[in-house]
């Protein structure tokens, strides 16, 4: 007898249960479902804004339904998770070399976190929250 290499299947629909890191990856990826849905909501909001004050108020009112609140909470979690994974990834996609040395990755993502915080505060400030 001779060679008969055995191919073990890579299960195309359930592979992500194999390793915790795959689940982490998938949870990062499926944040896009929530973000996409939220974008639809934003477009709808723009529609209302364009349609005048009454439509806008009606839009704000629909936001208050319990289902909507739960939805937005989920989106918030997804968006924050996305942001964290994105900033951590930037150091990989765009390493920064100064002379012989590379700027430590933590510093690059750190800088992103700081910028994120500043930007968020600025927007909150402009929106009159703080």
């Amino acid at each position: 007898m001779s060679r008969r290499p055995l191919l073990r299947e890579f299960p195309p629909t359930t592979w992500y249960f194999r390793q915790p890191r795959y689940l982490r990856y998938m949870s990062r990826e499926i944040t896009s479902i929530l973000i996409a849905a939220y974008c639809v909501l934003l477009v709808f909001g723009l529609h209302s804004l364009a349609a005048g004050p009454a439509a806008w108020e009606a839009f704000l009112l629909t936001l208050k339904s319990p289902a909507s609140i739960v939805f937005q909470l989920l989106v918030l979690i997804a968006a924050v998770y996305h942001a964290a994974t994105w900033f951590n990834a930037t150091q990989k996609a765009m390493p920064l070399q100064i002379g012989e040395y590379f700027v430590p990755g933590a510093m690059i993502s750190g800088a992103h976190y700081v910028a994120w915080a500043l930007l968020s505060f600025a927007i909150l400030f402009l929106a009159g929250v703080i």
């Binding site: 055995l6 195309p12 992500y16 990856y25 990989k92 765009m94 070399q97 012989e100």
Partner: protein, 275 residues
């Protein structure tokens, strides 16, 4: 030599038993019986793979490879696996240990409890037991042209190409790949789409692209910038997490996506632009 050599016969401190020398940390080496559950497959007799259990008395400080060597020497000579250097540099001894791609010479028993499950590297056909067929990887390595294509030819008599330490550091990390294929076993995109050139081979292309002496990026892009190339990667990042040589292929691939995108823009959107 100033001292006259002593008379008695020279016993060098006696080595520990057999080929698997004992490993240890200060603080005492103790014995421990380890249960290995090893995937077996012999194409001569088996139609399916099966697990076989071995109870091995090990030194607490051993690596998994030492345990396998002990099985092979004392319990079951028919168990097959690859290894050579025992120092994480030859890249032979990759296997799945409790589902995680690892170099068995760098997987310390002290980090495992209970039954240790050992399987051949995922995503490769199993030749026999823990031995996989790396043909696909070897083929892909070759396809990315992993050799210096000089920017300017220069005869040896004119000495070395100058390269500053900073230029060296730009690619050095990516030149550290030991071709162990752990990243291929870890990358789900390779599992899902076997035509994917994959992390290590693409990283090697990046290594030469980043080399100040090299001018071959354009040629390599013919392979790297295709669907089978970097664009199959969805940045799972598993490759970098398992890489024993800290090569960080995930980083290399993302950088290549950026440069490939810039190439594309130059080529298609800038009139007369050449990447």
């Amino acid at each position: 030599m100033s001292n006259s050599p002593p008379r008695s016969h020279p016993p060098l401190a006696a080595p520990p038993e057999g080929a698997a020398a004992s490993l240890g940390r200060p603080g005492g080496s103790s014995e421990r019986t380890v249960t290995l559950e090893v995937l077996r497959y012999d194409p001569d007799t088996d139609s399916e793979a099966r697990f076989q259990r071995y109870e091995v008395v090990c030194q607490e400080e051993w690596v998994v490879l030492d345990a396998l060597n002990k099985v092979k020497a004392d319990i079951d000579p028919t168990l097959n696996y690859r290894w050579s250097c025992h120092m994480a540099v030859c890249g032979s001894c990759g296997m799945m240990i409790n589902g995680e791609p690892k170099l068995s010479c760098h997987a310390f028993l002290r980090n495992y409890e209970g039954v240790i499950r050992i399987e051949p590297l995922a995503n490769f056909p199993i030749e026999r037991d823990l031995v996989v067929a790396p043909d696909d990887f070897m083929d892909k390595l070759k396809r990315v042209k992993p050799y210096l294509i000089p920017k300017q030819e220069k005869p040896i008599s004119e000495g070395e190409y100058k390269q500053t330490p900073a230029q060296l550091m730009k690619y050095r990390q990516y030149s550290m790949c030991i071709n162990c294929m752990l990243c291929y076993a870890a990358c789900p995109q390779y599992g899902l789409t076997p035509s994917f050139i994959g992390p290590a081979a693409l990283t090697l292309a990046h290594r030469y692209n980043q080399d100040s002496r090299d001018g071959g990026r354009k040629e390599r892009q013919e392979v790297a910038a295709t669907h089978e190339g970097v664009w199959e990667c969805t940045f799972v990042g598993a490759c970098s997490e398992v890489c024993p040589a800290h090569v960080d292929p995930a980083s290399a691939l993302q950088q290549m996506k950026i440069t490939s995108s810039i190439d594309w823009i130059v080529e298609h959107l800038i009139p007369g632009g050449k990447p």
